[in-house]
């Protein structure tokens, strides 16, 4: 376990079972974290912009974004984020069951940092979450990205 300050993770996921699974996987991980869960794109943007009930929300270090969401879907969220100068540098991992090629292409077009298909196997899923952690650790080591690591 790292003794660094826990990272703030925003999980945008409408399926509670999936959200719980992610939470469980992170619990087994090696990085201290705070997982914040919202169920759609509008809530996600409100959280990130600290609007309304999220006025006291911490800034997110990384976003795990599902693509198919009610009200405002993941693609729209990506578009908004990358146009927002305050938010566009937050790494986004698109996490979805969709294997459709156009989704992958569209996500990269919208500058998702990473695109991960939710695997059907739990072990693989846990492995992926660990990869995300590693991904995070790599980011905090990047020069110029220090501001995101709450050192």
């Amino acid at each position: 376990m790292s003794d660094a300050t826990p990272i703030e993770i925003l999980l945008v996921e409408d399926n509670p079972a999936d959200a719980r699974l992610t939470r469980e996987a992170l619990r087994e991980g090696c990085v201290a974290n705070h997982l914040h869960h919202v169920v759609d794109g509008i809530e996600a943007l409100a959280f990130l912009r600290r609007e309304g009930k999220y006025a006291d929300a911490p800034p997110a270090d990384i976003i795990l974004l599902d693509l198919n969401l009610p009200r405002m879907d993941g693609r729209e969220v990506l578009g908004e984020l990358k146009q927002d100068p305050k938010l566009h540098l937050i790494p986004v991992v698109v996490l979805t069951t969709s294997e459709a090629e156009q989704d992958i292409l569209r996500s990269y077009e919208l500058h998702a940092n990473c695109y991960i298909t939710k695997p059907v196997d739990l072990d693989k899923f846990f492995k992926i979450v660990r990869t995300i952690e590693e991904f995070w650790l790599a980011i905090i080591k990047l020069p110029g990205r220090q501001s995101f690591a709450r050192a």
């Binding site: 079972a17 069951t97 939710k118 059907v120 196997d121 739990l122 072990d123 899923f125």
Partner: protein, 533 residues
Amino acid sequence: MSALISEIRRNGGSQAFPDITHGDVALRDRLVEALSHLPTSVMMFDADDRLVLCNEATARYFPTATDLLVPGTKYEDLLRAHAVSGYVADVGEDMESWIAERVESHRAADTAITRTYADGTTSQIVERRTSDGGIICLRTDVTAIRTYEVRLKEHSEELLRGQSILAAAQKISHTGSVMRDLRTGVVEWSDETYHIFGRKPGSTPPTRDQVLDCVHRDDRSRFDAHMRASETGKSAIPIEMRIVRPDGTVRWVMLAAEVFLDSDGQPERRLATYRDITETHEAATELERKNGEIEEYARELERSNRDLEQFAYLASHDLQEPLRMVASYCRLLQRRYQGKLDSDADEFIGYAVEGADRMQRLVNDLLSYSRVGRHGTNFELLPAAKIVETALKNLQNAIADSGAQVALGELPMVAGDPTQLVQLFQNLIGNAVKFRGDRTPAIRIDAVPADGNWVEMTVADNGIGIEPEFAERVFLIFQRLHPREAYEGTGIGLAIVKKVVENHGGRVWIESKPGRGTCFHFTLPTTLAKGET
């Protein structure tokens, strides 16, 4: 001395012309002249039946007895000489009784007989009593007339035969004919026409208006148009129309009419034929109906197949998500609570995990099966060797692990969807590696040209083989021939093979000897069909 009339006159004989000696000599001379030139033989016998005179033509009728043509020759002697010479053809065996009969009929002088002679000539013999009790005997050569008569008889027999053949042909083919003389309006119906129109043969043919009444109301204008068209001299295309018989029965007939012109090119006669095609028509209608039904079934089947594929796709697609949850949480349970509850709980969770895993594999396979060709086929011409190469690359781990040897024959260009074809070869080669038995797998891929623009390809292995009775079943989806413990898998691979081959219009079959290996045969097109790119 001759009995010839001209010689008697020349010799000044008076007996021959008792009445004329004191008559008009000029008239007598003209009469003699006329008789001498007559082609008919004229002979006169006196009351004692002795020849008095005859004309020149007579010698031609008695060529074997000319020397007896002298005054005083008895008719009977002349007849005997005639008969003995064999000139008379129909004498028969008993010549004397023939002579006696003939002499008797001669004396009766009411003869009118026709006789044929040995030289083929035929004469008509007429004998009449003269006023002095003698007999005048006329013989006329009727050979030519006889020949005509014989020919005429032959011709009429031929005609009758032709007529009966025509009638039989009409009966057999259910074709009636109607001949109309366009000038007199006289109409002749053949027996079959009466039959088709449901009327008694030989009754008066119906008038034109009555015929029109027999034609089905809805067909009258076409009937009329066809008849009018035939009168222009062009042969119109036959029409199908209905006839209503007096008893109300409806018959379908094929009508064809043609007008014949006389030597001046004027319409002379019109021949119309009516062929009863009711049975054929009904059969054709029935066939058409059945074809329609079959087409409808085919469309229905296609529709339901499409629905089923759509269903399989949606079901397998939509099942994935909840299934992922079930499997994930079963796993999570196992991960967190294995050994922490009791042994029953461990076992139950174990089965739940196993079941969920298997179900995931099945749903996944079903999804890949229903995805084959789902987005339409993207056909292109490409070398089969390249497809096989890609398939082998995808299988490189399995091939390396099993030490399989793969040999390729000369492979042609094939037309097909690259993704599907790679999957086809991958599944077949993978199958060969998987069911390898104890030997090191040896796989051979070959191609031979098949009919037309097709190639027959084979993937042969030395594996465990398949019992012949299962040769068809292996292609069914989720059919497994072996216990799960022996060979894993859901039984989707060959179902996909079959689907890919059939998507390409080909067929696939198996040749196998248990323990000796299996050979998969399948056909693929070598050229792109029209409309494919």
